[in-house]
Symmetry: C2
Subunit: 169 residues, 2 copies
């Protein structure tokens, strides 16, 4: 996102808030497509984290710009989930999309933290960059099983032993 | 843990199950010492993950050794929480302990995955190694704020803006 070069602090917060809203929506959609209770819990945890980030960012906005009404930008970091073709995405596709979103957010926060002249803003942006990177690792770990075993997310109960009996030696 | 060299598959599962039980206990204790609701939610999520791992490992044990009663080893990967001195640990200390535990577990699983001759066992151990590494990253991210701002875990509400007004330029 080279376009973010030169955003004002006010614009950075707008982009950040929108991207947390979009990320929460993506996790909500993913959770609706998954049946494994542990995976649903993981996706709910991720969604709640993004909701909390949105509120931390809104808090920061209200403190720095108490007199300026918040306007969300028209262009999010990622193509929105209601874009053409998005309705046919598989669960592994959605995981990849979420990983890409976490990576973009983490990079965005890290770059903006480096540009920030405000100590509180810098600390918050650096924290968010690190959290989104942790989320990326969490998703990457699940993606390994998600991409190999459709039963991992389709079935209520998943037993690796059962799956691999049909595959391994 | 060089001593783990040469453990049998049965012993590996015993060590793994015990270490998940200990990790869940550590997160329970940490959550009891923390007041920030978001952080409590994060620690509860981590505890539930370890409980789920314990059940995945017990499941694997029951399938591989249906006729052998499970005996937990006497020596865990980490010194137990009721060891002398453990009762006086601060919240940042406990975070460091949890990070160390995740790192040890991740290394243990990764090493044992490489030694495993069983496809299901190898896949499970590799998955667990990756998840524990994700947990490590998650804790590391929180540790940055935990170690700098006692209010981050002591207070119900935490506002970076308030904290840094008293510190920064």
């Amino acid at each position: 996102m080279d376009e973010s070069q030169g955003l004002t602090a006010l614009e950075v917060l707008g982009v950040a808030i929108l991207s947390e809203i979009e990320a929460a929506a993506l996790y909500r959609r993913l959770a609706q497509n998954v049946h494994n209770a542990t995976l649903v819990a993981k996706l709910s945890f991720l969604r709640e984290e993004e909701v909390k980030h949105e509120s931390m960012l809104r808090d920061m906005y209200a403190r720095r710009f108490p007199d300026v009404e918040l306007k969300l930008p028209s262009r999010p970091l990622m193509p929105p989930l209601d874009a053409p073709g998005a309705s046919t995405l598989s669960v592994p596709d959605l995981f990849q999309l979420a990983m890409r979103a976490e990576q973009l957010s983490s990079d965005f926060y890290s770059r903006e933290a480096a540009r920030s002249s405000d100590e509180a803003g810098r600390t918050l942006l650096r924290y968010l960059s690190n959290v989104e990177r942790s989320h990326y690792h969490l998703l990457e770990t699940e993606y390994d099983l998600v991409s190999r075993f459709p039963n991992y997310y389709n079935a209520d109960e998943f037993h690796l032993g059962d799956e691999l009996m049909h595959v391994g030696p």
